[in-house]
Amino acid sequence: MKLIAGGVLQSGRHSTLFVLAVLAVFLGGCTTTISESHTGGTSDQQIDLKAQASRVVLMPVDVELYELTAAGLKEPKADWTESARNHVVRAVQDYLAERNLTLRHYKTPRDQRSADRDVQLGKLHATVGGTILTHHYDEMNRLPTKGGRMDWTLGSAAREMGKQQNAEYALYLFLRDSYATAGRKAAAVASSIISIIGTPRVSAGERVGFASLVDLRNGSVVWFNVLYSDTGDMREFDPAAEVIDVLMDGFPA
């Protein structure tokens, strides 16, 4: 694990999300951005989307922004979420365009059967993504017989979706983001003063997320990345694009 103080913290294979989160809390005042990507798939070949001139379909972005109240409750914010979603889509589009890759926006199929299939694929992806987070990022939860291999798949239903969406790969993004209210900031200040006598530090907002690339020809999850950051702002385009750059770190293109 190498730590670049005050900026990007990139970690090796052996770190865990839990450790990252705990580290982030103890780093206190200094700002933290952490990402850790894994590449995988069922074949041993190195994947390079650029070399294959691949088409990537961006699945509906699962993003939600909250305001942190003084007591730490998360109030969902519809307007912030809407602008963050627009920023994320634009930033991903730019990121892929720089690599001469075509981004396709997911279109809900007209026939109900296909639409249902895609919803179920999304649910399956959420479960598989959670499994990857648990077993590849948390050292305590490594699967002994997996040997660290990233060979997760969504199965053959992904192929049908790929044909319909005219794409070889699907990109799934998940982001949760919170910002402190004035009251929360005051609590953070007050509790950092009291922490001398043993009160934990009060967080003033953070972004967490993961990105995942699925090969639609066989359903394999070929690349996966997680993000933890206590800086940045998804409500504005430029800082949101920076967050996306970190989240796309290690993308195979």
Partner: protein, 385 residues
């Protein structure tokens, strides 16, 4: 000096927390209204839109168009203005519940439909849920929780500074009881709205308190250790029942309860819902429910069969004999499903009455010639020769 600094930080926290204003009265949501995108209410809608998308693709949805149409029609009869804003989801789960989300996602659980006896009771439940929507109880509750937790954060920080840490715990208790009381007020308000819609639509007003009475009987039979999902959020107090009873008396002569229409709508599904009910393995509560349904008189053969199933599944001393007696009674009554012969056959076989078992299995195949387990039952008959 340092203490002065602490207090000013805490005061900033307090002021920020309470700056949003107090619990000022909130206007009703208008038909077709959607909250402005920059409000806390829009945030709640956004989250519920996401939950709704999950519900839509759930395997637990009862999709039968006739049943959905029926409940939607009753919703519109209860309140024509708002029924377009309600999106109904019938969820297959054996507990009593109906719920309303801020965005108009209305869930009705099959455990509630099994317990409701007539259209008036259904109308009252739907009206009660619509009351939550119209009065915007979700956002009111959110604001209340937010306010009291902000105050609690202030109190915890300031009392810690003053060296009185335990006082923070005390304020937690005060804040929590405040939230609970607020929620009871909402239930009362929705009771009132539901009742007004019920009577305005010409339903039988006296049916409203009966739902609670049946539920309380069931809860008492089940024992205190098995609290219902419903009661955890809907405290059905004697006081609420009393209020509804008094209102019903004041409302004067009652309209038609709509029992026939209701039973016709659910008749196709009731057997499956009873089967699900037994999966809870809350035998005491289910026993009470089944005797209520038997007394109600609709399709007694079906209820007697499931009473037999309860004894067979429980398998305590004397249960096998009780089950046989109930199955036989069911066969003699109207509405018994074909499965009664199969269950009877299994019990006969278990007790060595092979000839009776064979006869019962044959009766089963005669009553259900297209049964999925036909080949299996036929093999039993062959073994018993």
């Amino acid at each position: 000096m340092i203490r002065g600094l602490f207090l000013s930080a805490a005061c900033a926290l307090f002021l920020a927390g309470c700056g949003g204003g107090g619990g000022e009265p909130i206007a009703d949501l208008k038909p077709g209204e959607r909250p402005a995108n920059d409000t806390d209410e829009a945030g709640l809608w956004m989250q519920m839109d996401r939950v709704e998308a999950q519900i839509q693709s759930s395997g637990r949805i009862v999709s039968d168009p006739a049943l959905n149409r029926y409940i939607r029609d009753v919703t519109c009869r209860v309140n024509a203005q708002y029924c377009k804003d309600m999106r109904l989801y019938i969820i297959q789960t054996p507990h009593f519940n109906a719920s309303m989300s801020p965005n108009g996602t209305m869930q009705v659980w099959t455990g509630a439909l099994l317990r409701i006896r007539n259209e008036s009771q259904l109308a009252y439940v739907l009206g009660h849920e619509m009351g939550h929507y119209i009065r915007r109880h979700s956002v009111q509750r959110w604001r209340s929780v937010r306010r009291s937790s902000d105050r609690r954060a202030f109190f915890t920080v300031t009392t810690r500074m003053a060296g009185l840490g335990f006082m923070g715990d005390l304020s937690d208790l005060v804040a929590m009881s405040g939230i609970m009381a607020f929620s009871r007020d909402h239930e009362r308000e929705s009771d009132e709205i539901g009742f007004e819609m019920l009577t305005a639509a010409g339903y039988a007003a006296g049916e409203a308190p009966k739902i609670w009475e049946s539920l309380i009987a069931e809860r008492e039979a089940a024992g205190a250790e098995k609290p219902s999902v419903f009661f955890s959020s809907h405290p059905a107090t004697e006081e609420r029942i009393e209020t509804l009873r008094n209102r019903a008396v004041a409302a004067g002569p009652s309209g038609d309860s709509g029992r026939k229409r209701y039973l016709a709508a659910i008749s196709k599904h009731r057997g499956l819902w009873l089967k699900d009910e037994l999966l809870k393995r809350d035998f005491k509560g289910t026993e009470e429910l089944l005797s209520q349904l038997l007394a109600d008189g609709y399709r007694p053969g079906e209820i007697l069969f499931y009473q037999g199933e309860l004894h067979r599944q429980r398998g305590d001393d004397g249960d096998a004999d009780a089950a046989v007696a109930l199955y036989r009674k069911a066969i003699g009554a109207s509405g018994a499903p074909a499965e009664v012969h199969r269950s009877l056959g299994m019990l006969y076989w278990k007790t060595g009455r092979n000839a009776d078992a064979r006869k019962s299995f044959r009766n089963y195949l005669r009553a259900a010639p297209k049964a999925e387990d036909r080949a299996m039952i036929q093999s039993y008959i062959d073994q018993l020769k």
